[in-house]
């Protein structure tokens, strides 16, 4: 096993626009599968895009950004950092 650093960019492979989730989860949001440039596939939320199929294109370039995990904390009050996908400016 070797450590491998994923790049911070990729392209949208597939998605779903989630309008109903479990109680307490904010909707709508875009659940996205992204093929990372140079290898690897990630699943996460596609943000800063209209939750509308007309606004989302297969293979659209995205960047991987990091932020607080929507304010979620575990049982001990710890905060978490999550990754998100954001369209690369001018791509859509």
């Amino acid at each position: 096993m070797e450590t491998f650093r994923l790049s911070n960019t990729g392209r949208l492979y597939a998605y779903s626009i989630v309008h109903r989730s479990f109680p307490g989860i904010d909707v709508p949001y875009v659940s996205a599968i992204v093929d990372v440039d140079g290898g690897g596939t990630l699943k996460g939320n596609l943000i800063d895009v209209e939750p509308d199929p007309g606004a989302i294109e297969f293979d659209m370039p995205v960047e991987i950004v990091f932020g607080d995990a929507l304010g979620r904390k575990d049982g001990e009050g710890n905060s978490y950092v999550a990754f998100f996908f954001r369209p690369v400016n001018g791509s859509h």
Binding site: Y13, A14, Y15, S16, I17, V18, H19, R20, S21, F22, I25, D26, V27, Y29, S31, A32, I33, D35, T41, L42, K43, G44, N45, P53, F58, A69, L70, R72, K73, D74, N78, Y80, A82, F83
Partner: protein, 380 residues
């Protein structure tokens, strides 16, 4: 030695909170035994499929209801392939000539609401790292098909129109309600492109089958309504690059269908009807191609041109499918065997596929288990 289904039935699917899982399973077991004209005293083993009480010895508790004869009981859990797996274990025991008369039961009692997501330590990932709900997972699989072949929301929705229409002719389905295209497309959006009417119904249900060796079926005089098991195949998913984040719902079906056609010495062109795993409308489209009912990229045309409707070239899910008959996880794989057997016996009433001689049943447990059976009428 070939193995035959000599008794098979299911309870009407619905919501029965006043009943227990073993009660539901016992009802189906007795229906299947009655169908064969046999009793639990005649059975040499019981293979019981149930998912939500997988640790609960459901098979033994069914026998507490219908007769504790001391036979071996095997309890099986394999996600949505649970029922088909129980049936296959029963079939395997007859093929191995260990027994010549056995019972398979599939049963499930469901809650309501979304399946999937899963438990996690720390914080919930749902809505943070995408969605793990089943409607979303199968929406993503459907849009992978859109990405490849341009399949439209409307084409996915037509699957639901068709299956709900079929279920109006099936008194054992949960629903008997027509849902026109506009109704399907305008119902609550759950996970685009799956609307609420494009998601399978969570119901309680049970189905059972009695399997006999050819010699036993002849000895008992049961060949006239018997159904021959031409192929029984179970696969798991091979490694695939996107596995960790995107369950591959296609490859295990492709492997299973190829193996099943080979075992039966048949091809998809020989199949008169199919009951496939339409857990979501998007999934049915994928499986037309995975089962070889059409070439890759042709699934949208198949639904547009009516090939898969009752009266079409190869009717799919004439029972109403999981979308309208309902999807009690552990029962589904035997309920679809009941449906195909009923057509092969010419006993399906208004929804009968005329002249049906060969039928195929298919279930998948997410991406990781696929069960396929090819069945043939035993009448010459």
């Amino acid at each position: 030695m070939d193995a035959y289904i000599v008794g098979v039935d299911m309870i009407k699917f619905g919501r029965f909170p006043e009943k227990s899982v073993p009660q539901l399973g016992a009802e189906a077991a007795l229906l299947a035994l009655d169908d064969a004209g046999l009793t639990i005293q005649d059975m040499q083993a019981l293979y019981c499929g149930n998912l939500n009480q997988a640790g609960g010895m459901v098979g033994q508790r069914i026998l507490q209801q219908i007769g504790q004869t001391g036979i071996p009981v095997v309890n099986v859990a394999n996600a949505c392939a649970t029922g088909a797996t129980a049936f296959r274990e029963a079939w395997t025991s007859v093929k191995a000539e260990l027994y010549d008369l056995v019972l398979a039961v599939g049963v499930e009692q469901m809650g309501r609401g979304l399946l999937g997501g899963g438990a996690s330590r720390g914080i919930s990932k749902e809505g943070l790292l995408g969605s793990g709900t089943m409607p979303s997972v199968f929406a993503e699989a459907g849009l992978e098909h859109t990405r490849q072949f341009g399949t439209t929301f409307e084409q996915f929705a037509k699957v639901s129109v068709k299956n709900h229409h079929h279920s109006t002719m099936n008194p054992k389905a949960m629903y008997q309600i027509e849902t026109p295209l506009e109704t399907v497309m305008n119902s609550e959006m759950i996970s685009y492109p799956n609307t609420k009417l494009m998601c399978s119904v969570n119901v309680d249900g049970a189905a059972a089958a009695v399997i006999a060796s050819e010699a036993k079926a002849k000895e008992l005089g049961l060949m006239s309504r018997a159904v021959k098991v031409r192929a029984s195949v179970l696969t798991s998913d091979p490694w695939q690059e996107r596995d960790l984040v995107m369950p591959d719902v296609n490859t295990c079906t492709r492997k299973a269908s190829k193996a099943a056609y080979e075992m039966a010495g048949l091809g998809p062109e020989d199949v008169d009807l199919v009951e496939l795993h339409d857990c979501f409308a998007t999934a049915e489209i994928l499986h037309y191609e995975n089962l070889g009912l059409c070439d890759d990229g042709e699934a949208g045309r198949l639904i547009d041109e009516g090939d898969v409707e009752l009266g079409g070239r190869v009717p799919v899910n004439v029972s109403g499918g999981l979308l309208s008959k309902g999807h009690p996880l552990g029962a589904t794989g035997i309920a679809n065997i009941y449906e195909v057997s009923t057509h092969l016996r010419g006993e399906a009433g208004p929804r009968q596929v005329e002249g049906a001689r060969i039928g195929l049943t298919h279930v998948i447990g997410l991406g990781s288990a696929c069960g396929i059976h090819i069945l043939e009428s035993a009448q010459a």
